[in-house]
């Protein structure tokens, strides 16, 4: 659980790996890699992004790993392959940063439920357990109060986190983890908190994707790797407009159905 910032950054590109997008990429998760890559490019920092499909070897020398959301079957298969490979484990031991979303967060914990509800062993990279609970899936806008992330460079204020959640499990953070923030609207982990952070591994139920809607979280992950000096501010009017609109929608409980008669007739 070390978080030593890699050195000699200027000499090499930031290496980002999307893990198993063919199994875990259901909710536009590829967007997170695009957001990170662009935010480095726009700052003049070189980036090298690769996607590693299931079956291919997992490199252990990258700086940042992305694990996305997926369906029950692929979730189990991804766990099996990542466990056999141990590449992600070695990378985390070397201080790599990981962002795991939804099913990705669940499989990185100690346990998670499979399609039948049976508890399975996760990868143990996040100190949390996910259990099945007897309630409807959490589907809708997820909004936190002001969130924060402690990186190698200190505490980074993330502002409000906004995204869409779609999951059935309840995630219980363990003693060596912290959450990202408290839930204002939605379900999150299920205990009023959202997200799990253990060392350099960050898990969240937010997609949309998470980093498109939350540029400060994207920049906090990057700053963890490249240090604060090169993280010059970016001007994000499109993102600001989206955040304003989505935060208002979450507070208006947009998903308490806004269906018009017209919609119902059209559908049917």
């Amino acid at each position: 659980m070390t978080s030593t910032p890699p050195t000699n950054r200027a000499e090499s590109a930031v290496r980002i790996v999307s893990l198993y997008p063919d199994l875990l990429g259901t909710y536009g998760d590829g967007g997170n890699a695009l957001v990170l890559s662009r935010r480095l490019e726009w700052r003049g920092i070189e980036v090298e992004h690769i996607s590693v499909d299931a079956g291919a070897p997992v490199p252990d020398s990258a700086d940042l790993y992305l694990v996305g959301g997926g369906e029950d079957g692929p979730q189990v298969q991804a766990t099996r392959e990542l466990d056999q490979s141990q590449g992600l484990h070695r990378a985390v031991d070397k201080g790599a940063v990981v962002l795991a979303v939804c099913a990705g967060m669940q499989i990185l914990g100690h346990t998670f439920p499979d399609a039948t509800g049976t508890s399975r062993s996760g990868l143990g990279l996040l100190d949390c357990e996910t259990v099945r609970v007897d309630r409807p899936r959490a589907v809708g806008e997820l909004l936190t109060t002001n969130a924060r992330l402690t990186t190698a460079h200190g505490v980074v204020e993330l502002g409000q986190l906004t995204g869409f959640e779609n999951h059935a499990g309840r995630t219980i953070p363990g003693p060596t983890s912290v959450s990202l923030g408290a839930v204002e609207v939605g379900e999150g982990n299920g205990d009023g908190s959202e997200g799990v952070v253990t060392g350099t591994v960050v898990g969240t139920y937010l997609h949309g994707p998470a980093l498109a809607r939350n540029p400060r979280l994207a920049d906090a992950l990057l700053e963890w790797i490249v240090g604060p000096a090169v993280m010059i501010p970016l001007h994000d009017p499109d993102v600001d407009a989206l955040r304003t609109e989505r935060i208002a929608a979450a507070r208006d409980h947009e998903l308490a159905p806004r269906r018009s008669w017209r919609d119902i007739l059209r559908r049917s």
């Binding site: 967007g31 499909d53 499109d238 989206l242 989505r246 119902i264 059209r266």
Partner: protein, 430 residues
Amino acid sequence: MTASSASVPATGPAMKLRPRARLAVAAGRIVAWASRVVHFGTGSVIGGRVSLLIDKNLLAELTASRDVAIVSATNGKTTTTKLLSTALGSNRPVVSNWLGANMTPGIVAALASANPTDTAVLEVDERWVDPVLRATNANTVVLLNLSRDQLDRTQEVRKLAEQWRSALTATPPNVVLANADDPLVTWAALAAPNVIWIATGQEWTADASGCPACSGRIDFVDGSWACTSCDLQKPTIDVAVTEDGISLQGKIFRAPLALPGRVNRVNAAFALAASSALGADLNQAFDALDDVTEVAGRYRVATFNGTNIRLLLAKNPAGWHEALELLEGPSTPLVIAINARIADGHDPSWLWDVAYERVGDRLVIAIGERRHDLAVRFRYGNINHSVADSLEDALALIRQSPDFDTSVPIDVASNYTAFQDHLEKVGGVL
């Protein structure tokens, strides 16, 4: 128009229905009429629901003495239903629900007004294949593709494939026409005794990398595919869709068709092969397809606020993959509209699975209720874009653009409810 639809006048055919079924049909008509009078839409669905409340076996009765073909898919089912209706219509009367009311109530409403022996070509929602197949005993089933669509409310695509497979096992049709390049569809169709396999050249495989048979991994190599863990693989094909046309039964039917793009060659291939299975003459059927220039407003070219526009529908990553074929190349600005209402799915994170970068240097105007989601997607795609509050404002922006070319229609590509809004603005379904 060769296919009749749900809006046929309620004069009523001479159908030998049981009294209960007759009552159900009559009540449905009255409710549909009342619904139209208060401008709730065509009224066909609500009328069908009322009919089914009175007689839940009505669909079986309405299809007892006719040939039935079912068309289902995530994408292209409305277009293929229309093409198949037209192809078959070249030599027989056809009834269809091609306006998109594709669950049992809408189907009942469409059939209730038709002659009892007309061949029925039915568009069926992916989730309704089993009940509709059971009730109708359809002799022909067309299965185009399965991909992610509206994940926050529909079932996982793998479960839909399982449902199709058990539906075909429970009620085997005479013939199934299936997409041999879609592993999910292939696995489902293998449950049927007689399948005509169509090589569609489908490029979108992102939703089928997990094997539906064994949860292993599917490898896609050189236009073929196979599971790395079990014996599921691309079947030997009967019909092929190529760059220059459709090859079946030793003949090549040359493109272009009236409808644009590779995806419509695929839809036409299914329509041709299915019409042939139902006894139509292939040359006659192929000629008839040229009469279809739009389908429920898709591909309509119309003048709106003095500007020529072309309406395109794309509602999920697989659909966008096909639509972008039509949008890459030209330099004129275009409009993209996204809503996230109940019929669209509330979660548009799939926008990040679409390679919008393929539009190149064109100016793109984002509109619709989720225009800001689109704008952020475009920003990270380094796509030249602006945001507008309405189609009117978007076209006003485009008219000021130096790349505006009055000689070609402005493409307006929208997802489901946004498309319906735009279709209404240009006069609705013809």
